[in-house]
Amino acid sequence: MTIFSLVLYVLAGILVCILYYHISNFLLDFFAKKDSKDSSIRAVIFIAPAFIVLVIFILYPVFETIRLSFFDKFDREFVGINNYIWAVNDPEFRRCILNNLGWLLIVPTLSTFFGLVIANLADRIWWGTIAKSIIFMPMAISFVGAGVIWKFVYDYRGPGDQQIGFLNAIIVSFGLDPQAWITIPIWNNLFLMAIMIWIQTGLAMIIFSAALRGVPKEMLEAARIDGAGELKIFTSIIIPYLQQTILVIWTIITIVVLKIFDIIVAMTNGQWQTEVLANLMFDWMFRGGGDSGRGSVFAIVIMVAVIPIMVLNIYRHKQEQKI
């Protein structure tokens, strides 16, 4: 397709959308009686498109996925909870659960911790704004892009060859053997997690940075006069004060991590025991012609894991709105 036809395509799509609202409201104004100008018809006009999309893309699929999880591969025969039983006994699934748990324990914790430390340091240093910009930048790029960046860092050449991956170059300069980092089972998960931490630390830092401004200055000064060191202030004033924010950030990052997909696909495609739930689900959508029953089971597992954390997050958001 040429640029011209792409532009036309895009404009047409957007125009249809705008015209719908404009014409339907115009028609309503034209035909409706003056006194009943804002009848419930207008509410329908306003709501209908979003509502239809909501039903088709979210509500119906949720129930359909739940239903499909009780049916066989081709959605022909009711199989009860057989898909679930199969999943529990599936070694791949178990490994995914373990990997996901690892991600859940390590990534949110370290991202939150680094974010807090950096926000705290950067606010007191004259070049802190630039530092924050640099730390925050990975947040803008895609997981796949980040995957390429880090795959290059982890690149491996045989011993004796010139290493072009930064990590191996460092290792070799210390006289150690180069490693094919992303192919070493179990440890490779840590190298993939590092990518996510690299991305999410920026988000944690930005939110902490805003929250830190709320820490009362008098309290910090009083502590300094009493002779408390910076470390002491950090652990006994700042951390307790930011408890709520820490929880918020932890939940946000946890939700992202639970659905992690792109990084694994880009880096290992699930090889070398790095699969996670979202990958397994994607896999089963197409594996062997696609298995809607098993795929649905994995989708439901992800949803069940996300719900409690998301509820906490929304609750927090509503609280914030009230203040």
């Binding site: 895609s142 892009g145 994607f282």
Partner: protein, 379 residues
């Protein structure tokens, strides 16, 4: 005082370490994307400002290029197609001994012909009898190459590897996938905030409940709906409008939620006064609410746009992986598989994919941050 100075220095050092660790991977990618591909393959990007030792294999010309001078047959040319300033130190004629001869040294071949190579790549191959070789003779060289930066990788990636087309495809996906939800959700959010209708609170509760649904829950049923529609009209089930609608659906709950929170917070006296004056809801929406909502729109626009631009999963499921539809993240994934060792292509492709997010990041950081902080509810 001294204690303060010390702690300040320690603080700066720690921060510096973080900054260096954070910037190095991206910086390495950026530098590499401009390096000559032959150099990139044999040396780390941190050496890109120094001279690099390279080993290469070249071929001489074949018999068609020979000339005759004083009963001696000669093939004369330069090994390098383009002069990149490489300086040859030694060469060889068999793969077993690639450093057999120094430059200007005479290498005698099996058939008695003689080959010499100069520092700048020029070679002379002399023989008493006419050359009969159809293919050129292989020459192995060891050369030192000066730093070499080029835009060649970008040319190759954008036009030959199809990343340029993927970039346009991604724009085609991302722009409507951002604007359409913004339009329909703003009307929806307005109705949820200021219009009275049956079941409004229930609807709001449904929206909030939808926030918890990960998009994985929708993929399988949607894929089968798309396939059914495709089969019904005998068209491909994967298309741009299809992916626009999918992104609209997945972004709907969070966009509506955020916009509603904003629209609801606008002063209600203003809206009531307009109502008393006889304005319809449509007038109020277009003439009062929209202009006031621009900053909120900007944040949500950026958030959704980046989300779509950086998405891989939806693009993989709802678009065909063909040149005219593949999005840039899917293209990168494909290149990671097929061109895994060609770092000049991967680094450049990744950097091309990052240009748009980085531009938004540096130009609109304020809105970006606001959107991200507010948008943490996306499911």
């Amino acid at each position: 005082m001294r204690k303060n100075l010390l702690s300040s220095i320690i603080a700066q050092l720690i921060l510096l370490v973080f900054v260096i660790i954070w910037i190095i991977p991206t910086f390495g990618l950026f530098v590499s994307s401009f390096r000559d591909k032959d150099l990139l393959a044999v040396s780390g990007w941190w050496t890109s400002l120094t001279t690099t030792q390279v080993n290469e294999i070249h071929r001489t010309l074949n018999k068609d290029a020979q000339i005759q001078e004083n009963n001696i047959y000669m093939i004369k040319a330069n090994i390098f197609d383009i002069d990149k300033g490489k300086k040859i130190t030694s060469f060889g004629i068999t793969s077993k001994n690639i450093n057999q001869f120094l430059i200007e040294e005479k290498a005698t071949l099996k058939d008695g012909s003689e080959l010499t190579v100069s520092e700048n790549g020029e070679y002379i191959w002399k023989s008493q009898i006419p050359f009969k070789n159809k293919k050129g003779k292989r020459i192995f060289i060891t050369a030192s190459s000066p730093p070499n930066f080029t835009l060649e990788n970008y040319k190759e990636v954008l036009f030959k590897e199809g990343v340029g087309q993927a970039f346009l495809n991604t724009l085609t996906v991302a722009i409507p996938s951002t604007i359409i939800p913004l339009i329909i959700c703003s009307f929806f959010a307005y109705a949820l905030s200021w219009m009275r209708f049956f079941g409004r609170d229930t609807l709001l509760a449904v929206i909030i409940a939808s926030l918890v649904v990960p998009l994985q829950m929708s993929l399988i049923p949607l894929l089968s709906i798309y396939n059914d529609i495709g089969a019904l009209f005998n068209v491909s089930s994967k298309s741009y409008p299809g992916v626009w609608m999918a992104h609209t659906g997945f972004g709907l709950a969070s966009t509506t939620f955020l916009l509603r929170n904003f629209i609801k917070s606008l002063p209600h006296e203003m809206i009531e006064a307009a109502r008393v004056d006889g304005a319809t809801h449509y007038d109020i929406f277009t003439k009062i609410i929209l202009p006031l909502s621009i900053p909120a729109f900007a944040s949500i626009f950026i958030l959704q746009f980046l989300w779509v631009w950086n998405d891989l999963l939806v693009g993989l499921v709802f678009l065909d992986q063909v040149p005219s539809e593949i999005i840039i993240t899917a293209k990168l994934r494909e290149l990671l598989g097929s061109r895994g060792e060609n770092w000049e292509i991967l680094t450049t492709g990744a950097f091309v994919s990052m240009t748009v997010p980085l531009a938004i990041f540096f130009l609109l950081q304020k809105y970006f941050i606001r959107g991200l902080v507010a948008g943490s509810v996306k499911g």
